[in-house]
Amino acid sequence: MTVSPMIAGAAARPVARAFVPGNAWALARRGLVYVLLSVAAFLSIFPFFWMMVGATNTSAEIIKGKAWFGGALLTNAATFFAQVDAPRIFWNSGFIAVVATALTLAISSLAGYGFEMFRSKIRERIFGLLLLLLSIPFAAMMVPLFVMFSQAKLVNTFASVILPTVASIFIIFYFRQATKAFPSELRDAAKIDGLKEWQIFLFVYLPVMRSTYAAATIIVFMTNWNNYLWPLIVLQTAENKTITLILSALTSAYTPDYGMILFGTVLATLPTLVIFFLLQRRFVEGMLGAVK
């Protein structure tokens, strides 16, 4: 068998790479990307780390800038539970967040499904109008909203916190975009199988879009759990306050106990963390718009 000189030459070429300016630039660029990503990761993780560390230190240690775990966790916990009616506050926050999330998902996903599946010129205009409403800041709506709830005698009730959130334009938009990936043939097949529109929604759309629902659950639950401004306005008695309002009230004390506050903050982040870790895989799929 003969080997052509060209091929033989190629095989015998030394493996050591010669310096090429282009490669050096690519390497430098990659290095820069890693540095930037590391900085971004640090900036994201540090506050969380600092909160955890702070929850185990005394207020004085935190003010001094101690950045490692201490031994004051139990003291902070005891102070927190002594000052705050924790079961009540967590129940309030939990009830509001769970009910608001369930209602938001039900209403907004139905709206998103409807806007995408039953397209018409008039519906497109209504949808455009809804998107326009996104640009109105909440601060501009607070007073009229308060007057409205006041007239309906709903101020200082959980309903006053939940109701303004249930038709979320962002979540409607999110579901509408996700519905574009829902195969229209599935709806056709279901119609031929004898399903009514509400049955298609319930028995075909909903299970097929579970990743979308999972992602929306995390977003909506977190928004409602962390909701501060509107509850601050409408929840006026101590027994109705949510965890965000209580934490804020603790920081405004004359000499705030930062260790105790950070312990409360750690507790307040736990439900969101649990939900995120439970739905993490679906969250990624949902954000990518996957229909599995």
Binding site: L186, D193, G194, V204
Partner: protein
């Protein structure tokens, strides 16, 4: 009784009319294929029969009942989609029994009907799998199984083999033909693949731009096309077209001269046409004979020759009038760059300037 009648069926999206007055009779147990190029309205027509698209005007009768406004599930039809449309969160068994569950059929009856369909399609080992755990061919079989379970009077297939690879397509084509024989039900099948149409159909409906161009048995359409569109669409390779002029006419024949082959004249048995009229002569690839064997010879420049084993295709005359010539002889050698072939008048078709057949 599962015959269908379409009477002046029309469909418009706003001011755009996509189905323009279709009249069609489909007999009980007939296998009818709607064929045509993309955008011809074949799938829309099928969806109108299924009840997935509103009928703008006309009447659709299944049996003797007008079905225009009847719910899709009550039309006695079942549909198989190009993308299978299996519910991804349900197992094969659940997918197949889903329609029956909503129809209020009892659990033992659902199980019996699903098992029967599974037996017919040999789906037994796959029943507890999810669609994502199946291959393309298996999914298509499940989709057909789901249709069978409903025991419909009419099966509707919307390009069911388009997503499969070539080998599987041939296999599934045979499966569907076998199924039709076994189930003895009316089937309406949409495809843009004329090979599928020719091999499966009892009757082919050729559509173009929402209009039925011709209806007939496969070989009827192949041998006796009504116009140049059907002649070009049915058959693979497609029919060759040569520009010609009518130079003379008698009581039972029209004499034409080929424009790009000066001096080549032949008399086609036909009574239409006028002297001086520009016409098109159609010749199928397999109807070009050996030099001197037909009524007129033409010399062509060979571009490419394809050897497929039992058949060879010669592609000739690029640029002027691309022609395909089929040679049955195997291992045919085309050494020269030219080939002389003959055209027989009784195997040629004549079309007027509007593409209509001159008979």
């Amino acid at each position: 009784m599962s015959s269908l009648k379409l009477r002046e069926i029309r469909k418009a999206f706003g001011s755009l009319e996509v189905i323009k007055g279709v009249n069609l009779d489909i007999a009980d147990k007939e296998f009818v294929v709607f064929v045509g190029p993309s955008g011809c309205g074949k799938s829309t027509l099928l969806r109108m029969i299924a009840g997935l698209e509103q009928i703008t005007a006309g009447d659709l009768l299944i049996g003797d009942e007008r079905m225009n406004d009847v719910d899709p599930s009550k039309r006695g039809i079942a549909m198989v989609f190009q993308t299978y449309a299996l519910y991804p969160h349900m197992t094969v068994r659940e997918n197949m029994g889903f329609a029956l569950k909503f129809a209020g059929v009892s659990k033992p009856d659902i199980a019996r009907q699903v098992d029967e369909a599974a037996r017919i399609l040999e789906l037994g080992p796959l029943m507890d799998r999810l669609p994502k755990q199946l291959s393309g061919g298996q999914r298509q079989r499940v989709a057909i199984g789901r249709a069978i379970v409903r025991q419909p009077e009419v099966f509707l297939f919307d390009e069911p083999l388009s997503n499969l690879d070539a080998e599987l397509r041939v296999h599934m084509r045979i499966e569907i033909a076998r199924l039709h024989k076994e189930l003895q039900t009316t089937i309406i099948y949409v495809t843009h693949d004329q090979v599928e149409a020719m091999t499966l159909a009892d009757k082919i409906v050729v559509l173009r731009e929402g209009v039925v161009e011709q209806v007939g048995r496969p070989l009827e359409l192949y041998d006796n096309p009504a116009n140049q569109f059907v002649a070009g669409f049915i058959g693979s390779p497609k029919m060759n077209f040569l520009a010609a002029t009518v130079v003379d006419k008698s009581a039972d024949s029209v004499r034409v001269e080929l424009i790009n082959h000066q001096g080549t004249r032949l008399s086609i048995p036909a009574t239409g046409g006028t002297v001086g009229e520009k016409v098109t002569l159609g010749v199928r690839a397999e109807h070009f004979g050996e030099a001197g064997a037909g009524d007129a010879d033409v010399t062509l420049k060979i571009d490419v020759a394809e050897h497929l084993g039992s058949t060879s295709y010669v592609y000739a005359n690029s640029g002027v009038e691309p022609l395909v010539i089929e040679r049955e002889e195997s291992r045919h050698q085309f050494g020269e760059d030219r080939i002389v072939v003959s055209i027989s008048a009784d195997q040629a078709y004549l079309f007027d300037s509007k593409g209509q057949r001159i008979r």
